[in-house]
C-alpha cells in the first residue's frame, strides 16, 4: 500500500500538572511547567504507526503547530515511529490565540501539499478541549470524517471505523481520503524507547510558517477572563433516604 498519513500532535501542559491561572486572568501559567504531547494525539500517532507496521501505510508524517518547543513533541512522535515531521512555527504569544479553525486550515493545506490520503488527529486536546479540529479539517478538505474512533480497519478502498457514541458503538465505512479522530480506547500508545529516541535524531523535521501555507491566523475570539473552577462547597449529612430525596429535589438535582 502506498498510503500517506498526516498526524496532528499538539504540545500541551502535561496531564499530571496542576493548572494555575495567570495573575492577569487571561490564561494559565505555562512558564517552567512540564509539557508533553496531547494524550489523544499520542493515540493518533500510535494508530498511524501500527497501520504502518501492518504495511497498510507507507509514510507517517507528524505535524505540530507551536513555538520552538513543539519540536520536542514532534521528536517524541518520531521516536514512536513516525517517519518525518513538519513543524509549523507559531510563536508562544500567538499560540494562545490559535484556534481550531486555523489548525484545520493548516492541516488541510498540508494534506493537499503532501498528497496525504489520511489525516489522523486526537479527538480533542486536553488544554482547550474544543474537539473541533478533525471535523473542520474534513469540512475544509471536503473529505469524509470518522470521529471518536475506537477501532480502525482497512477494507479494500475504504476504512471500517468503530465510533464511540453516546450509549454504544457505531460502525461506519468511510471512503479514502478521510479524516479520523482518535478516542481513548483506540489503542494504548507505546513508550518512546531510548534507542528509538536516538534514531529519531536522524529523522527530518521541516519548518514552515502558517503564512507559507497561505493561512491567516488572525484570531476570531478574544479571551475576556480565565478563572479557577469554583471551590467545592462542604456537603451536609442527612438523616435518611427520604430527607436525601427531599434535599436533592430542593437543589433541583432530581
Amino acid at each position: 500500500m502506498s498510503l500517506k498519513v498526516l498526524v496532528g500532535c499538539k504540545r500541551v501542559i502535561d496531564y499530571a500538572v496542576k493548572i494555575r491561572v495567570r495573575p492577569d486572568k487571561l490564561g494559565v501559567v505555562t512558564d517552567g511547567i512540564k509539557h508533553s504531547m496531547n494524550p489523544f494525539d499520542e493515540i493518533a500517532i500510535e494508530e498511524a504507526v501500527r497501520l504502518k507496521e501492518k504495511n497498510i501505510v507507507k509514510e507517517v508524517i507528524a505535524v505540530s503547530c507551536g513555538p520552538t518547543q513543539a519540536q520536542e513533541t514532534i521528536r517524541t512522535a518520531l521516536a514512536m515511529g513516525a517517519d518525518r515531521g513538519i513543524h509549523v512555527e507559531v510563536p508562544a504569544k500567538e499560540m494562545e490565540k490559535l484556534e481550531p479553525l486555523h489548525v484545520s486550515k493548516i492541516l488541510a493545506k498540508l494534506a493537499e501539499k503532501e498528497q496525504a490520503e489520511l489525516v489522523i488527529v486526537g479527538k480533542q486536546a486536553i488544554d482547550d478541549d474544543t474537539n473541533a479540529t478533525a471535523q473542520m479539517t474534513a469540512g475544509i478538505l471536503n473529505w469524509p470524517q470518522a470521529t471518536f474512533a475506537s477501532k480502525i480497519e482497512k477494507k479494500d478502498d475504504f476504512l471500517e471505523v468503530i465510533r464511540e457514541i453516546d450509549g454504544g458503538l457505531e460502525t461506519i465505512k468511510v471512503k479514502l481520503p478521510a479524516v479520523v479522530s482518535a478516542d481513548l480506547r483506540l489503542n494504548e500508545p507505546r513508550y518512546a524507547t531510548l534507542p528509538n529516541i536516538m534514531k529519531a535524531k536522524k529523522k527530518k523535521i521541516e519548518k514552515m510558517k502558517p503564512a507559507d501555507l497561505g493561512v491567516d491566523t488572525t484570531p476570531h475570539f478574544e479571551v475576556i477572563e480565565v478563572t479557577d473552577p469554583p471551590a467545592r462547597e462542604a456537603g451536609i449529612k442527612v438523616e435518611d433516604v427520604d430527607t436525601l430525596l427531599l434535599k436533592l429535589k430542593e437543589v433541583g438535582r432530581i
Binding site: 499530571a16 521528536r75 521516536a79 513508550y191 518512546a192 524507547t193 531510548l194 529516541i197
Partner: protein, 667 residues
Amino acid sequence: MLRWQPVKFVLGHPSRGKVIFGHPGIGRAMLGHQESHIAALGVTRGFSTTTQDSCTSPQVQEARDDGPAQQPTTLKPTHQPFVKNLFLGKFDKKMLTFPEVLDRDQHELLHEMIAPIERFFIEKVDGAKIDKEASIPPETLQGLKELGLYGQQIPEEYGGLGLGATEYARIAEILALDGSIAVTLAAHQAIGLKGILITGNQEQKKKYLPRLACGEWTAAFCLTEPSSGSDAASIQSRATLSKDGKTWLLNGSKIWISNGGSADLLTVFAKTPEVQPNGEVKDKVTAFIVERGFGGVSSSTPEDKMGIRGSNTCEIHFENTPVPIENVLGEIGGGFKVAMNILNSGRFSMGSSGAGIMKKMIGWSMEHAVTRKQFGHHLSEFALIKEKFARMSVAVYAMESMAYITAGVLDSHKNADCSVEAAIVKVFSSESVWHWGSECLQILGGMGYMKPYPFERYLRDARVLLIFEGTNEILRLFIALSGLQHAGIELQSLIKKLRNPLMNPGFILGKSIERLRHQKDNPKLDLDLAGYIHPSLKLGADSLEYCVKRLQYSVEVVLARHGLKVAEPENQLELARLADCAIDIYGMTAVLSRASRSYCIGIRNSAHEMQLAMMFCEEAAARIKKRVKDIENGPFINSDSTYMKIADTLIENKGYAAEHPLTRVFW
C-alpha cells in the same frame, strides 16, 4: 572582572563532541608529576596493606591506565586527582568552574529520554506491590529492557546507548524512584557487566555486550563470600586449570549476589595459583566471565530483606563449573584490580540517585506541610518544620552538586581518577538520604509511619546505600588512606628538611611561621579561590580555602604523629576525621562551583542556590574546624581514649556493661 568563565576547548571527538574545561597544557605538564608519585608508591605502601580494607590497596589506582581494554578514544587532558591533592594543600581551581559536558544535541537528547522513563515509572511501576511481593513483575522488567535501560553505558556499536557519566547520573535520578529496580539495573550494568566494558577484550565485548545491552541477558557481580565481606582479597573460591589447559574449573560459594537468581552472565572472582619467580606458588585473584549455561552453577532462593525487596539477592554456588580460558577477564592474577576498578567506577551515580529520591520526598512532605493545619496554622508556618526543609535542601543541593561535578570530570577526561571522589559522593549521599529521608517522614508524623505512604519503604530501601558497594566505614578509610598515600611521598622530603634545619634555614623559618599561624587556627589564605567564582560567594570561598589549609595541616599532624602506623586499626578515628574533612571540602567546592555558575548565567532561583551554597560552606567549615581541633588535640583531650575505654569494657563484658538501674547492693 569575574573569572568564572572557563577556558573551553572542544577536542575533536567524532561522535561525542565534549567540552573540556581547563587548559590541556596544565594536565600534560602535571602528568610527569603524577608518574613520580606512582613510581614512589612502594615507599608508602605500608599505609594500606595492614588494614582490613582491601580497597585501599595501592595497586588499584595504577591499574586504571594500563588495562588492556581501554578503548582508543580521543585524547582528553589527564585529570589530576582533585581530592588526593587536597591532602597536600593543593587546590585545582578548575574545579570551581562547574563542568559543562553536554553539547546542545546531547542535552536535548537526554531530556527527550527522560520523559518516557519518568512516564514509565509513574504509569507502569507499582513500588508498593514490588515491595510487598518481593519481586519485580516480568512485564515491568520487559518494559525496562524495551526502553533501553539495560545498556545505558554500553557503546552504540554494541547495541547500547553509549551514555556518558553525566547522562547516566541523570537517568539514575529517575530509576531511584523504585529502589528494587534501581538496584537490579545497577547490579546489571554498574557492576555486573562493567568488567567486560572496562577490561574485556574485543572478542568478549563482541560476544556478550549486545545480548546484555538489550536485556536478553542479565548480568551479576559475584565477589562477596560468607567469610569475606569488606576484605575482598580474602576470598576462598578457587579456579584450577584443567589438564589440557583449556578450561578453568571453578568451585566456591558467593553470597548476597544482586540478580543472583536471574542473571545469565556472572562476573566471578576466584583465587588462582600463580608461580612466583622464586618457584613459590601464591594465590592471586582472577576475574572470570561465567555463563550460567556452563553448568555447575546453582542459586538459592532469594533472601528476605529489609529494603530493596524486589531486587533478587541470592547465594550462588559453583561446583566444578568449566570456564573456557578465553573467558578470563583481564589478566590472570589481576582480578583484584578489576574488582576495585569496577566498584570505584560504579559509585558516583549514587549521589544523583539519592538526590532523586530526596527531591520526591521533599515534594510529598511539602504538600502535607502546606495543607495540614494544627493549632490554626499550616505546618509550613512552624519554624521547626521550616528548618527541616531548609536543612534538607542544603544537603540535597550538595549531593547533586557533588554527583554532577564528579560525572563531569569523568566525562571530560580520559581515564580520570575519581575513585576517591566517587567514594565521597557515595558516603555523603547515602548518609544524607537516610537522615533527611527520616526527617521527611517525621514531618508527616504518624501518617509518615504508615504503609500506605511511601516514606517507610523509601527509607528501608535507602538503608542499604550505607552498606553495599563498600560500607561507609571502609570507604572513609579508603578516602583518608588514598589521600595520605598520595601526600606521603611529598611530605617525606618535607620531613627530611625539617630534620636538617641548619641546611634549610629559610625553609624552617617559613614552616615555623606557618605552623604558628595554624596553631592559632589562623592559616594564611593565599590560594585566591574567591577570584574564581562570583564575588557574592567570597565568604564561602574563603571558608573553603581555610578548610583546605586546615586539612593540609591535619595531614601533617597525623603523619607526624603516626607515621606508617596510621593505617593500624586503633588510628581509624583520626582517619575518619580526615575523610570527613575531605568529604566536606569536596562538597564545598561542588556547591560553590555550581552556585556561581547558576548565578552568573541567570538560572531560575539562582539567588536561592547561592544561599544553599553559603549555608553548606558555613556549616561544613564549622565541622572541619572542630575535627581539625580534635586531631590537633589528640586522643586524650578529644575524648577518643575515653570512648575506647568504654568500648573495651563492653567488649570484656560481651555487651552493655552498666548494671540495671534497679540493681541494689544494699538494703
